[in-house]
Symmetry: C2
Subunit: 368 residues, 2 copies
């Protein structure tokens, strides 16, 4: 067996995005134990930096030892019990994934739907909350399958009014656009590391507010998943430091470094960088005959769903990868074959990155 | 927030163990997409190398995107349904963990027990299998909480005779001692990366034989966990390459490199190196007045449960860490405060490593 063969890629798909040298080098640092005082300090600092990213003072923040989907599952299986009712916003693949998790755990899943590429209108969602009075409301802030930015605040406040817990998917939004855990009245949120944080995939930063933790305390039966049982995981991240599973040490080195880079840049500056790269991309791809899938008011900055102006989208995408070293994402679900998903996440939300993609698309148009 | 402060440690606890430079540098390599053809080749090679480690020709091998405990949960939740019966060998913390997972998923857990520090006698286990005729038999090959090497082959064959599936915990044994998936009649097995593989923690290499896969096909209801649903994960690792969750790319670079180093050394040579380091350790610590917890015939080479000859074991352990940079593990569960767990895993199974620990213990004895 030979050494790894890893081509250089500019990663402009739905994630992973490119990881800066400093974060990659952090993973090459020497291993230490998961109960070493030096490592526990690193965990404390990660938890503190996550509080800043989620803009929360009271929530328990911690990275789950799995990808964003493990974070999704952690939130839902800890906050729901069989027989509970969850109202889930579904306008893309990740809302559907929540439905699947809710049903698997034996809770009742109600859907509040919209077409892929559209938001779920706030009035519609709020009416459903008031009519159904669910135990939990779950929605996706940044739908990675469609590039839609879902309004959250009014929906979350309406959920709190009927006593429902609110779970927010921030996998693609965290550190690329504003997420306000406390102010929006979110009870549990999860993110991914491989999107706007520009870290490798493998961890899911999460936040659990006081109402969520109280709900977990009141559970009548244990969480089905031992691995994702927050009452056990929380004892490792809390004062007691009780061993649960061996923390993924190197990935946490990477997350610590990635979070530090985000906070050094500043959240507002980072959001603005994402907005500018997005605006430039829209301008440039429209010049090339692409159309945007999503209405101007509801577009994510970091994930751009574009309708390419050619029939053989798959072969152009393949040539972008093999000839230019640029990855863009295909459509998912009903949008497969119809759209591309162009990610400008974290380190890649820069004008020179946009121009490199546009140059490749122009060259490709000349050749074929 | 400052850069990571990571002290140099010699990791002689129950894992993580030290990670060689080549593996750490692999994680620093550039990111690529989880559906990039170059990455899919890396996955294929990992699967092939895992088949060699597990000594299996027919099994589906793949790394689960979580630690060893996630591998444990994956095996049990995919192979059991509510109402099924599982007979679990319990002579330590990790057997207990299996019981907890079996009960949480709604299956009936039967225990076949022995004291911590002893094996579960084969005749005892086989009698229980024949009397109970469970749907599944689960046991721990290398009990990391006690240092006991559990005999497996006769028990697994007896289980197959009554039609039970066999799940084997190889978290600490894989690549440090012989694991023969096909020959022993194992149906599902899981390991960890941070033990004898000398990779960072965060992945669980698993193997699923034909009978296990057939059982999953026949399931009456979906697996409770979406994240650990093997029928979905298998479609990403199979020919279809259907997106499930974003693979932890950098960790898989590390695993690929770690597996390559294991196979370059050769399994038999690696096992022999573990046996020799273990024999030297036993000789040296007995000279210093330590006693071995486990009977000579049932000791693991890579995890040594020793009874220290002093009352203040915690303070000596703490000084080993802070003054000498050496981590040894404390006892778990009923053995807390009574034993140390000295790991000689993977890269650390070497005479010079043993001597460094012994030198530190001698210096400590002179000082205090």
């Amino acid at each position: 067996m030979q050494d790894l063969k890893i081509p250089e890629r500019l990663l402009l798909g739905p994630g992973p995005s490119n990881v800066p040298e400093l974060v990659r080098q952090a993973m090459a640092r020497p291993m230490i134990g998961h109960l070493d005082p030096a490592f526990l300090s690193i965990l404390d600092e990660i938890q503190e930096m996550l509080r800043q990213l989620f803009r929360t003072s009271a929530a328990l923040t911690l990275p789950i030892s799995g990808t964003g989907s493990a974070g999704m599952e952690t939130c839902l299986v800890n906050l729901l019990e069989p027989g509970d009712t969850a109202l889930v916003g579904v306008n893309g693949v990740f809302g559907e994934r929540m439905i699947s998790i809710v049903e698997r755990l034996g809770a009742r899943a109600l859907r509040c739907e919209a077409e892929m590429g559209e938001i779920i209108p706030e009035t519609h969602f709020i009416d459903a909350i008031r009519a159904q009075r669910p135990d939990l409301v779950a929605l996706v802030h940044a739908e990675t399958s469609t590039g839609v930015a879902q309004p959250v605040r009014e929906i979350a406040h309406a959920a709190r009014e009927v006593g429902a817990l609110v779970v927010l998917d921030c996998v693609t939004s965290l550190s690329g656009m504003d997420v306000r855990f406390d102010e929006w009245a979110i009870d549990a949120a999860y993110a991914g590391t491989q999107k706007c944080l520009s870290c490798p995939p493998g961890l899911s930063p999460t936040a659990f507010g006081p109402r969520a933790l109280e709900r977990i305390e009141r559970r009548g039966r244990p969480v089905q998943s031992w691995y994702l049982d927050l009452s056990l995981i929380g004892r490792y991240f809390g004062k007691e430091r009780v061993y649960h599973h061996t923390a993924p040490v190197s990935m946490l080195y990477a997350l610590h470094t990635g979070l530090r880079l985000v906070l050094e840049e500043g959240l507002e500056a980072r959001f603005e960088r994402h907005r500018r790269a997005h605006a430039l991309l829209v301008e440039r791809v429209e010049e090339l005959g692409f159309r945007m899938l999503v209405n101007r008011d509801h577009r994510l900055p970091m994930l751009n769903a574009v309708i390419p102006p050619f029939d053989d989208e798959a072969s152009v995408r393949r040539r972008l990868l093999t000839e230019y070293g640029i990855e863009v994402g295909p459509g998912l679900g009903k949008l497969a074959g119809r759209i591309w998903r162009i990610g400008l996440m974290g380190e890649n939300a820069r004008p020179e990155v946009v121009e490199r993609l546009i140059d490749a698309l122009r060259a490709e148009a000349r050749t074929h």
